[in-house]
């Protein structure tokens, strides 16, 4: 499955970024082989003045992401992610990307069903 994780670094040993719309990068990989397939792309929503969550969620759909791991999703981002039919899971910032993938594979990550605070990533 094609997996995306919000992150602050470009390595599987780097940490999950709990901001979705305002994270610096997204890591994309095939969940069968994260080591071999991981690629890192700049978050295109980062520079906008508003609506970052919407833009990042739309980007997930464009990238044909099948599973999203992030901290939390604001109300607008969650609406878009739901319409795009992408299941999203919450991971903490203390997890590395490798650890988050492992935790998701083992079923330890909770699915995001409710929106977090709006504008939470603007810091």
């Amino acid at each position: 499955m094609r997996l995306a994780i919000s992150t602050g670094g470009r390595d599987l040993d780097k940490f999950v970024d709990d901001r979705f719309g305002r994270c610096p990068y997204f890591m994309f990989c095939d969940s069968e082989d994260p080591q071999g397939t991981a690629e890192y792309k700049d978050n295109p929503a980062l520079t906008g003045t508003g609506g970052a969550g919407i833009a990042a969620a739309e980007y997930m759909a464009k990238e044909k992401v099948e599973v999203l791991i992030t901290g939390s999703l604001g109300p607008n981002a969650l609406r878009v992610i739901k319409v795009a039919n992408i299941p999203a899971y919450t991971a903490s910032e203390s997890m590395t990307l490798s650890e988050a993938i492992k935790a998701w594979q083992e079923g330890h990550l909770a699915q995001i069903s409710e929106a977090g605070a709006a504008h939470a990533g603007e810091r």
Partner: protein, 291 residues
Amino acid sequence: MRLAVLSGKGGTGKTTVAVNLALSWAPYRKTTYIDYDVEEPNGFIFLRPQIRNSSTVFLPYPEINGACTLCGKCSEACQYHALAVVGGQVMVFPELCHGCGTCGIVCPVEAVDEVERPLGEIDEGERDGVQCLQGVLKEGESLAGPVIRGLRRREKERSSQVEEVIVADCPPGSSCSVIHSAEGSDLAILVTEPTLFGLHDLRIAVGLMREMGLDIGVIQNKDDGGSLIREYCIQEGITLLGSIPFDLEIAGIYSRGQSLTQEPKWAELFKTLGERIMTEVTQRKNRGKTA
């Protein structure tokens, strides 16, 4: 003549100054008070005008019709991310839309219809010879700009009449809202208070007004007799137009929602202040002509 009353810091007395100046000019000149602080207009609390007209300010936003091919050009073009093309549909977020119309321009198949939503209101009325206008942004909305622009249009339509004094009660801060409210004024009257916070924000407001090329003058409210603001004005070569004392009676009248001009002592203060401002603007205009 257009006078913008602003401050930088909130709560320094913009509305107190704007309202009482307008009331003290009204017997001698055609005067219009306009509350541009649309996020929190409070001038009408003190003026209590008889409202004779209210109109709604609308903002356009897109609605996608059946011609849409899901090409995604609208969403790509939208700077505010008010559109998202996902899951075989175009999602529209009206509250993020600035009403610029770009989505409709870039759409290759005319699938974008423009609809409107109410964003705020403009009220007009009169009190003791002062023509009163205010803009009110709807609660929960964040786009003050369109309501301010609506007010400016209304102001322009009215002020074709000769020799009118327009007192524009501007929002606090130094954002776009302040710029749109103050631009084109003959004088920017900066109301400040003798606190470090007041001075800090006054400096920012002065910088903004200079950037905009507006003439400036300062009124010190809650004057405690100290030198903080006076020294700053001397250093910067800014005219101190006048001072309003730190006075319990003023606070009392204010908190009852009344105008200071109803008390002879304060009516006199504002009359003098108003005359000083008129002289200042006229002198600067004449200097401009000879220069």
